[in-house]
């Protein structure tokens, strides 16, 4: 349904294809380094933090209130941060580039 590229901390792009579910689950399935998904995707751990490419931010949209609050756990968060367990895979996300937060 969508090809999504994760840029890991070592600056290595990993492009994977997802059909459904959350972007975090897709990353874990493909062993993308730096996305742990410790809480299983319930927005409780902030270990699935990604930075969305600025020009693509509208594709994924704003974080929810809870997610924004959780992002404050990470000093590295910025206005293009998302917890990717809160992003569902849809065809619109095809070509999305996400940088895994440090």
């Amino acid at each position: 349904m969508a090809n999504i590229t994760f840029i890991t901390q070592g600056n290595i792009p990993v492009t994977v294809h997802g059909e459904s579910g959350s972007v975090m689950a897709l990353a874990v399935e493909n062993n993308v380094a730096g996305i742990d998904g410790d809480c299983g995707g319930v927005c409780s751990c902030a270990t699935c933090h990604v930075h969305v490419a600025k020009e693509q931010f509208s594709l994924v949209g704003e974080a929810s209130e809870i997610e924004k609050d959780m992002l404050e756990l990470d000093d590295d968060a910025d206005e293009y941060s998302r917890l990717c367990c809160q992003i569902d895979i849809t065809p619109e996300l095809d070509g999305l580039v996400l940088t895994v937060a440090g």
Partner: protein, 417 residues
């Protein structure tokens, strides 16, 4: 033979759940090049346990979400063996014996054996119909099947802890008639303050679950697949399905055989090393001195298992582990999201803060005099996040301002300089 290669190091990990699986992958991340043997009695590819009592309980796939996809183990050269039980440890020979009779030698052994549910010695418990504990995917599946097969769907949950309450909420949402029987005078008595107990009591009542405190289940009578759960005060509750969630017993059997020091779990030092230099223990099965709270603790949480897995991986790879001594935990019931950070034990002051802007959000702040010990946040990630930071930094909190919910909750408000 000349120039023989030295035998490869081998790390054997007993238990492939949150602790064991994360350790195996963390070892590779830290550069461990030896063999990794990851063993579990459970036949299923390791999965997340928290969803078992939550949304997955009555789903088509109660086995739920995998911790890692199967291919990831192969790719990381982790020898995952499922459906095998380690039955013996021989520390002098550095070997373990499996139930298939084979022996395996280790350089490092890690016990990530977790815990198992207690079945209380209630009269009739062994012959009760459709009585389940809830720890494994198999348990969840059995509950789901019994639930789908039964008509009246009367469920009695024995025990009002997190697992029991989450199961009650999940089953109620699926149309069961649920009764929770708790022996203590309030719910979650071991883990939270009375304010939170009251909140969850009301929450379940409002959602149609019958909750009874101070109920000591003394007998289960079973006729024709129907149970009658009898309490010592004479009250009786009919049940087609009984879910028992009264706590766990630590799996220390192997540690005992290895002669390791035990103390409410397998006793480990700050590096999660047991009393034997080559044996480590992580997760629910071990007790460790917590440097932040200056107390021995045995924690039952995903975060604790993960944190300790990272520590052991670093130690085995001769690196300096990063320690995080502030425990955190979450629980989901109905549409309510509870997040907790820190430990409230020893508190002498509680501040309950209801947010004016959002009445669904509130937080409970526990203090020992001036020191913030822990925060329970209901639908309130901000309070949880602030609490996490303030506790870790041992920041003084302005309690007067915290109590004043006309002021917005943020760190500028709380930090007392």
């Amino acid at each position: 033979m000349m120039n023989a290669q030295p035998p490869k190091e081998t790390c054997i990990i007993v238990g492939a759940s949150h602790g064991g699986v994360n350790l195996a992958f963390a070892l590779r991340k830290e550069g461990y090049s030896g063999r990794i043997q990851l063993l579990d009695t459970d036949k299923r590819v390791p999965y997340h346990r928290p969803p078992l009592s939550k949304k997955h309980l009555i789903s088509d796939q109660p086995a739920g979400q995998l911790l890692k996809p199967l291919q990831a183990y192969e790719k990381a050269d982790i020898d995952l063996q499922l459906g095998v039980t380690v039955v013996d440890v021989n520390p002098s020979e550095k070997s373990v014996t499996l139930d298939d009779g084979t022996s395996h030698v280790y350089t490092q052994l890690v016990l990530a054996t977790g815990a198992q549910p207690i079945i209380p010695p209630i009269s009739g418990v062994d012959s009760a119909a459709h009585l389940y504990t809830l720890r494994t995917a198999e348990d969840a599946q059995a509950i789901a099947e019994a639930f789908n097969a039964c008509e009246k769907k009367r469920v009695v949950v024995i025990g009002g802890g997190y697992v029991g309450l989450e199961a009650a909420a999940s089953l109620q949402l699926c149309g069961a008639k649920v009764t929770v029987l708790e022996r203590e005078s309030r719910l979650l008595a071991r883990v939270t303050a009375p304010d939170m107990s009251d909140y969850f009591y009301r929450l379940h009542q409002e959602n149609g679950v019958a909750v009874f405190n101070a109920k000591n289940v003394s007998e289960i009578q079973t006729h024709n697949n129907e149970n009658l759960v009898c309490c010592s005060d004479g009250s009786q509750y009919p049940a087609d399905i009984i879910v028992v969630g009264v706590g766990v017993r630590v799996n220390t059997h192997l540690a005992e055989k290895a002669g390791l020091k035990l103390d409410n779990g397998i006793a480990v030092d700050g590096n999660n090393q047991t009393s034997d230099d080559s044996i480590y223990a992580i997760g629910d099965c071990c007790a460790q001195f917590n440097t932040h709270y200056q107390r021995w603790l045995r924690l039952e949480s995903v975060q604790n298992a993960l944190e300790q897995a990272k520590v052991v991986a670093a130690v085995i790879c001769a690196k300096t582990p990063k320690m995080n001594a502030i425990p955190w935990f979450w629980s989901d019931q109905y549409a309510v999201k509870l997040q907790m950070v820190g430990l409230s034990q020893g508190y002498n002051k509680v501040v309950v803060r209801h947010e004016r802007v959002n009445p669904e959000s509130f937080s409970v702040w526990y203090f020992n005099d001036d020191e913030l010990l822990s925060v329970d946040a209901v639908n309130h990630a901000k309070a949880y996040v602030l609490g996490t930071k303030l506790i870790a930094q041992r920041q003084r909190v302005d309690i007067d301002k915290l109590q004043d919910s006309s002021l917005a909750l943020n760190s500028a408000l709380l930090v007392q300089i």
